[in-house]
């Protein structure tokens, strides 16, 4: 269990770093969503299912879509 926890914790940090460091906006948004998803698995392992559900639904689900909608708005303004 400890090992799985550590692996997922490393994934969380790596995807979070990727989200900050990458130049590609799409990759950045997806990486932030993945980081939230790994984080929610960590919450389940730490026996906090309530927090895990919130994190999975909002942190990795809705936020990702809202970022994509916002990105699309920015792009269409840049072009037009």
């Amino acid at each position: 269990m400890e090992f799985i926890f550590l692996v997922i914790a490393v994934f969380t940090v790596v995807t979070a770093l990727l989200a900050v460091l990458t130049k590609d906006r799409t990759v950045s948004i997806l990486a932030a969503g993945a980081s939230g998803l790994f984080g929610s698995i960590l919450f389940i392992i730490m026996a906090a299912p309530d927090v895990a559900m919130t994190e999975a639904a909002i942190g990795s689900g809705l936020t990702t879509f809202i970022f994509f909608f916002a990105l699309k708005k920015i792009r269409s303004r840049d072009n037009g």
């Binding site: 299912p49 919130t54 639904a57 689900g61 879509f65 708005k73």
Partner: protein, 234 residues
């Protein structure tokens, strides 16, 4: 160069503040007094097996009302800003056949699951906020599948306002009917421990929160999609 120096200074300062917390951290082996009270007496006092829910809805009910208010204000401001700045909406590519069929199958199931999560908030993990977010994600899926479909937000707005008002009214009913004050959950009988209709007002309030959060997040998503365009096109 100066800008970079400032950034490094800021980071260093923040790091040194946080470092103190890391070094002073000791794992707590026993619950603090208040938490211990909630864990030991919560089920007996409020009749809800899920202690998190009894804290969120009853012991810290006022905070939850504040949270819902903040969410309401945020959604209202997002709606206002996006409404002021109405871009012309072009025709969007429809989702693929696979996505459309999948979303038609999954949409009612996800809505059902969200409803289950907030109705059973006092028994199982989850509750109003989680259930509402799940319901909103079902809407996101259907938007992805058919982006050109119009979704009226009049009904969503009415649902949102109604649930907000009834939350406050139920809280006031607790203050008026019992001695224990605002948002007391025992104006309804506690019922049999562990069944769906138990724990007094908790399932009612969590259902209201679920509907409110669901409709609020949905209208934020619809607003971002930029489709409140009946006025814009006229």
């Amino acid at each position: 160069m100066v800008k970079k120096g400032f950034t490094l200074l800021m980071l260093g300062g923040l790091g040194s503040i946080l470092l103190k917390f890391v070094l002073d951290f000791k794992e707590k082996l026993a619950l603090p007094e208040v938490s211990a009270h909630y864990v030991q007496n919560g089920p007996a006092e409020l009749g809800a097996p899920n202690v998190v829910t009894s804290v969120v809805v009853t012991y810290r009910g006022l905070d939850t009302l504040g949270e819902v208010t903040i969410l309401f204000a945020a959604a209202a401001v997002v709606g206002l800003l996006l409404h002021l700045n109405q871009n012309k909406v072009e025709n969007r590519t429809e989702g693929s056949e696979l996505l459309k069929t999948g979303s038609a199958l999954l949409f009612p199931l996800i809505i059902l699951f969200g409803t289950y999560v907030f109705l059973n908030g006092h028994l199982t993990p989850g509750g109003g906020f989680q259930g509402g977010a799940i319901i909103a994600s079902a809407l996101v899926l259907s938007i992805l599948a058919s982006p050109n479909r119009k979704i009226g937000h009049t009904a969503l707005g009415i649902l949102e306002s109604l649930s907000g008002v009834s939350y406050v009214i139920l809280g006031l009913a607790g203050a008026l009917l019992t001695a224990n004050g605002f948002l007391n959950n025992r104006i309804l009988p506690l019922g049999e421990y562990g069944t769906l209709f138990s724990a007094g007002l908790i399932p009612v309030i969590y259902s209201i929160i679920g509907l409110k959060v669901g409709s609020e997040l949905s209208s934020v998503v619809i607003g971002l999609k930029g489709e409140s365009d009946e006025e814009a096109h006229q």
